[in-house]
Symmetry: C2
Subunit: 363 residues, 2 copies
């Protein structure tokens, strides 16, 4: 059933030019690049970029929070808006200006600010760091129409501030309870605002809360809750908890991962890889846990510059070592790179038995 729907959508994208609302623009779909992926909309050959994501790039200083946030939000969307039945579009409803205003503090000039007012000489944290919107469309009567939406709010786990302009930077850790309470307040406010717009008055809206990692973290933060708000509802009924957390291997200090076996597997792999060349700079990994179980791993291997044949042999060697040491039944991605860029990569999907490899090279 799933496969059949996907084929129908793909056929639309490749063979028909669908007419859109305005009549004169040509709407196409990108072909799906693999099962479980959304197709997305192209208007007159141009992709509709997100109205909010540019703002986030300016506001977020940890790149991992930006990537992990978007990717994780798409995973949540997939739970509620089946990729074989909906077409994806970057957020078009919350404008760039609104994003700026909402991310700001509430002031006389900015009544829509979702971060709290700051009375003089007091340290009042900003909680909201980024907003992302994802739109989901369906074809009704020959037209692609907005039928669902997901909004993600990225919240600070540490508030960074200065006491005077260009002064020293201070930081204040925010408690999970505080982040959760403030985040849920904002979600109700945003839901209310979305219901005032005719386009989003009467569609299901998913809203998810993300706790951003500190600026110096080598891994992004995590989503901790989301709500599915049925068409028309103006406040959240039920929150679904998300129990997901990212770790860096090797762990620093006395940090504990949910399953110590995973880290010792990684350590064995790391030792094997590091003995291979006389001077290999680093082997680290980002590990994602969901409900206490490892659900994904990205291994990053930094080399000095090595020649094509050396990287080729090394990649074969890693394939054997990864197969032997790294945890099974988990999607794993391994990237080998130098300061000149990525040299090779290995990949094993959740259900695959073997790693596939690719060595990059030039003519």
């Amino acid at each position: 059933m799933l496969a059949v729907s996907a084929v129908v959508l793909a056929a639309c994208g490749n063979q028909n030019k669908m007419s859109s609302n305005s009549g004169s623009t040509k709407t196409e779909l990108t072909g799906s690049n693999s099962s479980g992926n959304y197709q997305s909309v192209i208007q007159d050959g141009h992709y509709q970029t997100s109205k909010s994501s540019g703002v986030n790039e300016q506001q977020t200083s940890n790149q991992f929070n930006l990537e992990g946030f978007q990717h994780g939000l798409l995973d949540i969307s997939k739970k509620e808006f089946d990729p074989s039945k909906y077409v994806f579009q970057e957020g078009q409803q919350i404008s760039t200006e609104q994003t700026y205003n909402w991310l700001g503090r509430k002031t006389k000039d900015n009544p829509d600010g979702l971060n709290p007012e700051q009375p003089d000489k007091q340290v009042v944290p900003e909680y909201l760091q980024q907003i992302d919107e994802q739109d989901f469309l369906q074809q009704t009567g020959g037209k692609l129409q907005l039928k669902g939406m997901t909004i993600g709010l990225g919240l600070n786990s540490v508030y960074y501030y200065t006491k005077e302009k260009y002064g020293a930077q201070y930081s204040k850790k925010l408690s999970d309870d505080e982040i959760q309470a403030k985040g849920k307040e904002m979600v109700n406010e945003i839901l209310k605002r979305m219901r005032e717009k005719p386009e989003t008055k009467d569609i299901p809206i998913v809203i998810a809360l993300y706790k951003a990692a500190p600026d110096d973290s080598l891994v992004g933060g995590n989503f901790f809750a989301y709500s599915m708000n049925r068409a028309g509802s103006k406040s959240v009924d039920t929150w679904n908890k998300i129990n997901q957390k990212n770790y860096v291997f090797p762990t620093a200090g006395n940090e504990k991962v949910p399953n110590a076996n995973d880290e010792s597997s990684f350590e064995q792999f790391k030792n094997k890889a590091q003995s291979y060349f006389p001077n290999l700079s680093g082997v680290t990994a980002q590990a994602q846990y969901t409900d206490g179980t490892l659900t994904g791993m990205h291994v990053n291997i930094t080399t000095q510059f090595y020649s094509y044949t050396e990287i080729n042999s090394f990649t074969q060697y890693l394939q054997t070592a990864a197969q032997k040491y790294l945890p099974r039944n988990v999607p794993i991605e391994i990237t080998v790179g130098s300061t000149n860029g990525v040299q090779s990569y290995l990949n094993r999907d959740r259900d695959a038995r073997k790693f596939t490899t690719h060595v990059f090279n030039n003519y």
Copy 2:
């Protein structure tokens, strides 16, 4: 038959620790990462790096000449030393010091220099730029022994020189006839020298000649001839011509590629890709022709930084466009990257019908 042999070698590498000549070192093999690839040797868990390749890195200013040279040499080796029957090892016979000496000019202090003497005040080109050696081993009586060797000589197509130390750089284009004649002379000299060493006295030695691209080229040079010298032979009997050349798309000025249809296909793909985002920086390709036919293409797409969902949709879109516009029955690799590194890549092997895709991301 080929498959069976490969399995036998793989079994050795994974299950048995083979004893090597010296008795006390442990020799392992890297597992083969795909059919048609050599396995290579690991001694006591360490890879034997090449004795000559470090020297080449210092001498060669165009990175493409370095990568293309090594990769192309391996392709020539595969014609003469079947990957299912031989194990690969980085060159161990020509020492680092010898490489330095051979690459130098002939002088009183360096009688082994393969580049010509330079009398005062005369411009005498250096022809030889890089030397690479690849060793091929087989197991005989429980020991891995050197049973074949390939040597590549990289020759300048342009000689760069200064008239005084730190002075202005001048250049002199070298003719194909000149390069060929000098290269073939050097090959006979090298073959003679290899026959004086007990390890290489009596094995088949392949020697190949590469014409390096100029320093400012956006693509590497090409091999133009190789000889297979049977065990013991001290001078070249027969030269095999290699008709291979690399081009950059879009071509500059009035350069002509062997098949203009390939470039117009690329242009259509390029236009399609460039219309997608408001500001895509560049779409270029390296194209390799063998005997006048396109035998491989590496497409390089440079983006501003775009978000995960944007790159994900773009990659889907490229998959459809590449399938539609780019030449068929040719291995094609497409890399999408920003200044932050590679973001996604697409790949289609020679015999594959569809492109596979991968989007890189972080947690």
